[in-house]
């Protein structure tokens, strides 16, 4: 059952532990109400993939996930004919002499193996949330192939016919922008840029995702990460890193940030040596000092 209003959508996301800002909740609501695919773009670790998982859980649908990669083809993404069984069927037909209809028989549904895309629109299965993850990793030919699916929620298999979804799946596409996704895809989707959260929302996320964290530590962690995002790093830390870092500090039984604790655990937050070298030591100490004042 789709939520009736933006508020209900926000509530649905919140009930699954996802803290969305108003703009994101509005777009998700529209995607559900208008039955349009949702195209989420943003830096890694801002919770794009999570939305699909949360929607599946919240709407009680099954999650069908397609992780994209370069050179992905139809047999990996949509469907594949079961060659071995087709061959056996041909041999069997020869043995029993029923060769007349074999050409037709071996292209029936029984020999069709569903991959994620086909599975998501299979009318014989319960409604799905289809997550097409990191579309920027796939190459352009694959995008072109997606167009039919996104526009009409159907797939045409030359040997078999057209398969159409009984209930249109909720489609979520994500991209980290390692490549520009083609305009044709964008036009068919509702577009939302998922940005890093502000301090208040990031704290709410920490409360939801790392419960039991001391309030002071949580405030300092968020303050530190927010300050890091202002600096000129090659790769800024995402929300996922914030959660990991908070958990790491909690594991070390820290109740507040210290320069030593930051230096020891910086690898959880930053994933490039240049960035770590830039922050570690003096800079980190200065930033810790700053957030200590804020939090106090």
């Amino acid at each position: 059952m789709n939520p009736k209003s933006v508020d209900e959508t926000a509530k649905l996301l919140a009930s699954q532990g996802y803290v969305a800002d108003r703009s994101l909740a509005t777009t998700v609501h529209l995607a559900l109400a208008m039955a349009r695919p949702l195209f989420l773009e943003g830096e890694p670790g801002t919770g794009k993939t999570e939305i699909a998982k949360v929607l599946a859980a919240g709407l009680g649908r099954r999650l069908v996930r397609l992780q994209c990669y370069d050179g992905m083809d139809l047999s990996a993404a949509a469907y594949e004919w079961d060659r071995a069984r087709q061959l056996l069927a041909i041999r069997l037909a020869e043995a029993t002499g029923a060769t007349a209809s074999v050409a037709q028989d071996i292209y029936s549904r029984a020999f069709l193996q569903a991959r994620p895309l086909l599975s998501a629109i299979d009318p014989d299965q319960p409604p799905a949330v289809l997550l097409i993850d990191e579309l920027d990793r796939a190459d352009e030919p694959f995008e072109a192939f997606l167009l039919e699916l996104l526009a009409d929620f159907q797939l045409t298999i030359p040997e078999y016919g057209t398969i159409r979804a009984a209930t249109p799946p909720v489609v979520v596409l994500t991209s980290n922008r390692t490549r520009e996704v083609h305009d044709a895809i964008r036009r068919r989707c509702l577009y939302q840029w998922v940005d890093y959260p502000d301090a208040a929302r990031e704290r709410a996320i920490l409360t939801a995702r790392a419960p039991g964290l001391p309030a002071k530590l949580s405030a300092q962690v968020v303050g530190f990460v927010q300050a890091l995002r202002e600096s000129e790093l090659f790769k800024l830390p995402g929300v996922a890193e914030t959660i990991d870092w908070a958990n790491a500090l909690a594991h070390m039984d820290r109740t507040e940030l210290t320069p030593e604790a930051v230096d020891d655990t910086l690898g959880v937050l930053l994933k490039y040596q240049d960035d770590i070298a830039k922050v570690r030591g003096e800079t980190a100490a200065r930033m810790v000092e700053a957030v200590r004042d804020v939090a106090a």
């Binding site: 209003s5 933006v6 108003r22 703009s23 509005t26 777009t27 609501h29 529209l30 109400a33 208008m34 349009r36 195209f39 773009e41 370069d70 050179g71 992905m72 083809d73 047999s75 004919w81 060659r83 087709q86 061959l87 041909i90 041999r91 037909a93 020869e94 060769t99 074999v102 050409a103 920027d136 990793r137 190459d139 352009e140 030919p141 980290n176 922008r177 390692t178 490549r179 520009e180 305009d183 964008r186 036009r187 989707c189 509702l190 577009y191 939302q192 840029w193 000129e232 790093l233 090659f234 240049d274």
Partner: protein, 394 residues
């Protein structure tokens, strides 16, 4: 939806289009549909609903938000032009220059070639000075004749960058291929009643990797600007997955502008977009900005980077080595094309050159970059053997 709201959405879409956003009729319909699903009294919801349906790229969002703030405050139609002026202006301006392609149209009518009046250098026309540090100039490019354009197209076909072919994971039918294509084998087999007489074979396809060009347009490079732009335009329209950036004191992405089929129109777009022709160079800063803002977006899938600069850096090579190191790590191959001045036998005296050399895979100096042909010949030479590269002269 009430009639006036629908009319306002249409009017708003017009405003967006004039501000340079590609908003089509389908987007407009989607926007009107979206408005029926939300609370129209809530301004933030209306803004998101319109943005999510009418904007398809993050970089357009800022213009949209500005336009939204202006339009939905007081959508009186009469203030359209005032609004456009406030939007930073993409509205039509009287343009004293001949329209792109006009020289070719004239040629076509008279049936003969214009004698080229111009052996003159490109004209520079200083518009405004924002700061001492940054000389902002616009540049007019000489018009190209139809023959020149055709010649450029022919030349570019000869371009063959080293290590230019990369095996993909896709396959194509090939009777001598190493892989067996079961699907095709079975399909052909069916013609013989399921008897598989031949095995269909396939081989991996190869395609050129993405190419990213970073081109210096500072004062010391200005004499090559014309040739380089012709080259960039020809490359951008000959291969797919080409991204082009210009830098002087700042970095400009001109990929979309160069896609314009007509070189003159493309150059006019480029000239209007790039504010720092023939100023100084801050190579380190430009490359660092590229690393932060663009590297992850355009260097995927084994990209080759072609860096065109003379390495004369105004900032005394500040931050240049670090930026080059990062760039080198982010791409599959980094080629540096250096149009040296004539009798500068190669002596890396400049700090910039010394800072950059250790991080390039290939260094290609060219002593007289006089033509597109010379440039393409140079770039198409085979790659040097790895490890045998020019140590840094000390």
């Amino acid at each position: 939806m009430s009639g006036s709201l629908a009319a306002n959405v249409i009017e708003f879409a017009r405003l967006l289009r004039r501000a340079g956003l590609p908003v089509g009729p389908a987007d407009m319909l989607a926007a009107q549909d979206a408005l029926t699903h939300i609370d129209i009294g809530n301004r933030a919801e209306v803004q998101t609903a319109l943005r999510t349906t009418m904007v398809h790229r993050h970089e357009h969002a800022a213009v949209f938000d500005q336009a939204f703030a202006l339009f939905w405050r007081d959508p009186a139609a009469g203030q359209f032009d005032a609004m456009m002026a406030m939007l930073g202006e993409k509205a039509p301006k009287p343009d004293p220059r001949p329209a792109p392609g006009s020289r070719r149209v004239a040629e076509a009518f008279t049936g003969r070639r214009d004698q080229r009046e111009s052996e003159q250098a490109p004209e520079y026309d200083a518009v405004l000075t924002v700061s001492e540090a940054e000389r902002l100039q616009t540049m007019d490019f000489e018009a190209m004749s139809a023959a020149e354009i055709a010649a450029a197209r022919t030349e570019i076909r000869r371009l063959h960058l080293p290590l230019d072919l990369r095996r993909t994971r896709r396959t194509r039918a090939d009777p001598r291929g190493a892989m067996i294509d079961m699907a095709a084998t079975l399909r052909t087999g069916l013609r013989h009643g399921g008897e598989m007489l031949t095995l269909a074979r396939a081989t991996r396809t190869v395609r050129p990797p993405p190419l990213v060009v970073l081109c210096d347009i500072s004062g010391s490079m200005s004499r090559y600007a014309q040739i380089l732009l012709h080259f960039l335009h020809a490359v951008a329209n000959d291969r797919d997955r080409v991204s082009t950036f210009l830098f002087g004191t700042r970095l400009s992405n001109i990929t979309r502008q160069l896609r314009h089929r007509d070189p003159e129109a493309a150059f006019a777009l480029v000239a209007s977009q790039v504010p720092d022709w023939s100023g100084g160079t801050r190579i380190g800063e430009a490359i660092e900005v590229f690393n932060r803002q663009w590297a992850r977006r355009v260097l995927g899938q084994g990209a080759i980077v072609l860096l065109v600069t003379d390495g004369l850096d105004r900032d005394g090579a500040k931050g240049l080595a670090e930026a080059m190191d990062r760039l080198h790590h982010s791409c599959r191959r980094l080629i540096w094309l250096n149009p040296l001045l004539r009798w500068d036998g190669f002596e890396p005296k400049s700090q910039g050159i010394r800072a950059m050399l250790p991080y390039v895979d290939e260094f290609r100096p060219v002593h007289n970059l006089a033509s597109l042909r010379a440039l393409i010949t140079l770039l198409s030479r085979p790659a040097p053997i790895r490890g045998r590269f020019m140590g840094i002269p000390t």
